[in-house]
């Protein structure tokens, strides 16, 4: 099996790619918790003027009826007016697309953005909704029965790992 791409390098690569699309109206929102870690890196690398927003779409998920409330929902903090902004929505791994749908629904309860582009560190097969990333660091093949997760160690270094469990 091919080695997993290095998360730190993917962050640098995404930052280079995004530099070309940043406008004065560009604002960034990271999805808890992996997406927030990536967004912190990108936000700093791009030196965006508008402060970083963090989102936990736990209250918008479509699996509440099946699984109940997420274990540890975090407080969403969007410290800017969403109205009219060009949003870069950042997550760690794009898989089914359900988290992104929930996050977009939540964002619209803050206002009407001019646009939303999805930025992910890695994407994998398994989409269940018509969602695609405008900026993806890498495409990763994930064996059946495993999941791709972003980890952050004590020094704050990011790495992608495969875990058992769908």
């Amino acid at each position: 099996m091919a080695a997993l791409p290095e998360a730190e390098k993917l962050c640098e690569q995404l930052a280079r790619e995004l530099r070309a699309v940043v406008k004065p109206s560009t604002a960034m929102v990271g999805i808890h918790s992996g997406g927030a870690w990536v967004a912190e890196r990108l936000h700093a690398a791009l030196a965006l003027k508008i402060p970083l927003g963090l989102l936990d779409p736990a209250f918008y998920r479509d699996d509440y009826a099946k699984q109940g409330l997420a274990r540890d929902p975090k407080r969403s903090k969007i410290p800017f007016d969403v109205e009219g902004k060009d949003l870069l929505l950042v997550d760690d791994v794009l898989y089914t697309g359900r988290t992104v749908r929930a996050a977009m629904n939540e964002l619209f309860d803050y206002g009407r953005p001019a646009s939303i582009a999805l930025v992910v560190l890695a994407e994998r097969d398994g989409r269940q909704l018509p969602v695609c990333a405008q900026h993806a660091g890498a495409k990763v093949a994930v064996p059946a029965g495993q999941r791709l997760r972003l980890k952050r160690d004590a020094q704050g270094r990011l790495s992608l790992e495969l875990e058992h469990g769908a």
């Binding site: 736990a58 209250f59 009826a65 109940g68 409330l69 929902p73 407080r75 969403s76 939540e106 803050y110």
Partner: protein, 316 residues
Amino acid sequence: MARNPQLNGNGELQHLLSIEGLPREILLKILDTAESFAGVTERDIKKVPLLRGKSVFNLFFEGSTRTRTTFEIAAKRLSADVINLNVAVSSTAKGESLLDTVANLSAMQADIFVVRHGSSGAPYLVARHVKPHEHVINAGDGRHAHPTQGLLDLYTIRHYKKEFGGLTVAIVGDVLHSRVARSLIHGLTTLGVPEVRVIGPQTLIPAGAAALGVRVFHSMREGLKGADVVVMLRLQNERMSGALLPSAQEFNKHYGLSADKLALAKPDAIVMHPGPMNRGVEIDSSVADGPHSVILPQVTFGISVRMAVMSMIAGA
């Protein structure tokens, strides 16, 4: 040992009947979840779609404005449908039993029953008879418990004091009749508050108070010394029978919270009251409206706490 009627087989919250018997992890999860909902209540659109399609029945066999209203707001902010029943003046007055009322509402496809009742234990009775997908929240039963009030008190204390360890909390007044005090005491001891005090005249302190893990004081000046948190209780005239007190004026003189008595607590002490307040009886206006008072923030926090409880039980 009998299974805790509030938890399901997976140890998740199924009903909220009492803080007593709830593990520390569940209490903390409710407070953490409420903290996330506080973010929702600060937005322009104060609504999330979590309980869309669910029905919440507010079943109040006893009067209430604040509690009923905040449950209603909480349910609506979760996108649930809310039905308010003033049962005291309808079915019950016509002779229908509590369980028949509940069975009828269940036939109308209820998901959550919010029950307030003058008899201790009534919400337990309801919880024993509802269907597996139906959930019960105790909104105050007799002198027994008022768990969502206790939880919002805990939330308020954590909001202002950050940690529970190291705190001295003084609960003052009519402890005997207070379901609020009972719920709060269980919560404080479960979360590791080292010093919980109750202060009041002998006639208004329950005989077994010390067994709850609290220190009993009959002098305000002794009991308030060094307190971080002062919780004033309402003098419950409607629950008193017999001569427990000489008069409201006499009570105010000894146990009413005035600015000079409050000066004995820590300089950054917070003052709480579950409402409704009897100004000039258990609390002076100068304190109720003063810089130490967090009585109105308590009401706001109550909405997020009730959103957290409803979303946790309905998803269990």
